[in-house]
Amino acid sequence: MSLIQEIDFGTPKSKSEAMVTLTIDGNQITVPEGTSIMRAAMEAGTQIPKLCATDMVDAFGSCRLCLVEIEGRAGTPASCTTPVMPGLVVHTQSDRLKKLRKGVMELYISDHPLDCLTCAANGDCELQDMAGAVGLRDVRYGYEGENHVFAKSHGCENDNWMPKDESNPYFTYDPSKCIVCSRCVRACEEVQGTFALTISGRGFDSRVSPGMSESFLGSECVSCGACVQACPTATLTEKSVIEIGQPEHSVVTTCAYCGVGCAFKAEMRGEEVVRMVPWKDGKANRGHSCVKGRFAWGYTTHKERILKPMIRERIEDPWQEVSWDEAFNFAAAKFKGIQQKYGRDAVGGITSSRCTNEETYLVQKLIRGGFGNNNVDTCARVCHSPTGYGLSQTFGTSAGTQDFDSVEDTDVVMIIGANPASAHPVFASRLKKRLRQGAKLIVLDPRRTEMVESPHVKALHLPLMPGTNVAVVTALAHVIVTEGLVNESFVRERCDWSEFEEWAAFVAQEKYSPEATAIMTGVDPNALREAARIYATGGNGAIYYGLGVTEHSQGSTTVIAIANLAMVTGNIGRSGVGVNPLRGQNNVQGSCDMGSFPHELPGYRHISGDAVREQFEAMWNVKLNNEPGLRIPNMFDAAIEGTFMGLYVQGEDILQSDPNTKHVVAALSAMECVIVHDLFLNETANYAHVFLPGSTFLEKDGTFTNAERRIQRVRKVMTPRNGYADWEVTILLAKAMGFEMHYNHPSEIMDEIAALTPTFTGVSYDKLDELGSVQWPCNEKAPEGTPIMHIGGFVRGKGKFIITEYIATDERTGPRYPLLLTTGRILSQYNVGAQTRRTENVVWHAEDRLEIHPHDAELRGVRDGDWVRLASRAGETTLRAEITDRVAPGVVYTTFHHPDTQANVITTDFSDWATNCPEYKVTAVQISPSNGPSDWQKAYDEQARHSRRIAPVVEAAE
């Protein structure tokens, strides 16, 4: 193994199809029009010296090192800013160029420290490389003059010198090493789109400045790491590199945070991670990252990780550390006992959307084959299950229609109930890049999120009341139909015409107009009409949506309404358009694909289908139950009722993440055996009887499937600290239960999946190694996968228009609970925070805050930062208030990353009509001033501390 060296071509790739041929150093080369001479040379294998150029950002032409000579042209143009032309004859090396470059380098080095041996960039410094490349042998100017290098010069303080900025927990800014190439500033603008950095001053006074000479942490910087990646010197350096040194080998793997699925190089020294660097060939992220994937991997070695299996008879007892065998036998005996006593259907399990496809597949196989029932579900139940239902009804597949590259061809973006800048940051950066090129943006969201207004982003915002999605999306359809904006030829060709006519007559009714529905939705009818016109007529229109769509009583209805909207405008089946659910967890798409839902086998095929079920029975050598099993909320109800008594939970903290915490506590307490398979003693583990230590994504092989249906490899870079990869643990647990599964490597599990699933028949580890990644369906018809779906026709045949009537949720405001609470996420934290709270990311978000409008706050005597009591019909908690007009009057907002807040003690039992996906996004609440934690929070904390005790190991007496 060696370090993967990615070629830096100096300037971005040109998309032009017209080709140009020129001569560089006597060799003919043909490249797309618009390519720089620098890039053309590099493609031919000639590296022209450069400092300010890098292919992640546009050419800038400031360092004057990349000069070339062109026959017939005067002077020495910069090769980065000079495009190729047919017939040019370019020379990259001549006496004149050598002299000029050496002179430039001499000036750079005259204001740069010469501590190369002890410098963190030693071994990875482009300045050093270039000094070598141009043959710099001495610096005639000396170091006595004006400089940025020394704290003192001539015995006085040097005003040009600045100390290091160590404020960011993950990287250091050392201004003395800066060569003002602007790569960091341009990466922040062009790649990330945050515009946090600038160059202050002019000429010799120029310096990189976060905001107005602020610290990195104090500025708008979101710590995505693009600047650190772009820096050619040790000016911006990962603290882990400063501490450990340069990596010696690297392995390409996939991030284990959100559904974007960024590809990273894990850069290693032995089994120690030095840093994670986004991989330029990663098709989801194209070389970009966010603060979580790039930096927040410290949890993998956190001291709170549990590395030994533990058991206990009662949850009141302290945990006993035991051997793996004891733990498996204890768990198997408990589960078998429960099944004998309460029946075969009294146990079940939850697969993890954070684990690999292979692991998820094994858990559902254990449940269906080993437990003998279909009581298997996954966290998609509580996030995107309505997406699966809605899109399969209308289009015929339970997944998004596009790849992320598609956004580069989009003219109008409509974001509904999603905040990609916080929850899917790398996609947000790609989207913002397109917006800066002129694409239009419409945002439907109760809050004024970062996607509504941020540097170079200004959306047409429809701030709707939480719970009124169906009314708003149907009103958009009303405008399109009644104003004659229907794409009739598309609908006639691709959709069922009579269903369309019925639907069109439905939405055209006056009562669904923007004007008639405004009283419920709170949306300005003119703005809504404007949005409908832009989406229908503005060119390629793409809808991206998130949990603000699905987590409602009418979640599935809204997904159907969105699909209707895409069909009626013909925005399906090509690049730049489509319906794109932004999936929450790294492998939530995969966990759904792998048959984690109780009613369907891998590949979304209903369990009652005899032909399909028989294939699985033959392969697994076991008879399968043909009835759908319990969904997560149904499991809780059945537990309280006394018919569901054992649960195996892999990599999911249902107690913190599921709604109505008191109800979940009651359900877990009622069960006789809960097995938690996780990295940490999470909140669910407080009610568990068996704890099986889990492994991190760095410790195992497998695949994740992201929101674009892209299957990507996860590669093991270190030995599992707990002893076993999660897939091995499931196999051993199954064996203890008497259900044998034999696999030597996860690739064999994927081979079995491919053999049983028509959309996966072409998938294998060999193919993934060869192509980097594939998007399913990947089979004989599409051997290299399917970036865009429904080209030329829908998977189900004709696109199906379905009527979407708005039905208000039964969660209503009233005199006791007059405000609506909606929940969401923040950039630095991930889901329940189990991972990110155990990293330095807490410097950005140490607690959940309640956003409240100044008007509502004043009415209640609440000031910014005050403790407030947040109460709903389900429960109450306390947290601190943040007064902001991001939320409308009548609406409050919080995040759910911290267990000491437990936002879900507030959320209710209401759920989506079709899938039981909980209604997290609408809860009627009241706010009042408070002195501190509620009684419930105190009791919860006490129980948690009591439950987490681990008995000391007693040495056997002699």
Binding site: L630, R631, W913, A914
Partner: protein, 73 residues
């Protein structure tokens, strides 16, 4: 919504409300198919038992859909 029949009645009616706008003739098979596809047998058994004891609270289309489903079972 703690006691089980109430919750199941609520869930069944919620399904019914989605299909209502498609008219009775499509709503009834729509509701029964949905319940057949997504409800675990013990949930179906409970709602059938509730139906047998009068089916209080069930909307008309939902009641009809459940009766059909029960006959098929």
């Amino acid at each position: 919504m703690s006691s089980s029949p109430d919750k199941l009645v609520y869930m069944a009616n919620q399904i019914g409300k989605f299909f209502q706008s498609q008219g009775h003739d499509r709503a009834v098979p729509g509701i029964s198919e949905h319940i057949w596809k997504f409800w675990d047998p013990r949930m179906r058994k409970q709602i059938f038992a509730h139906l047998d004891t009068g089916g209080a609270g069930l909307d008309p289309d939902v009641r009809e859909a459940l009766q059909k489903l029960k006959q098929q079972a």
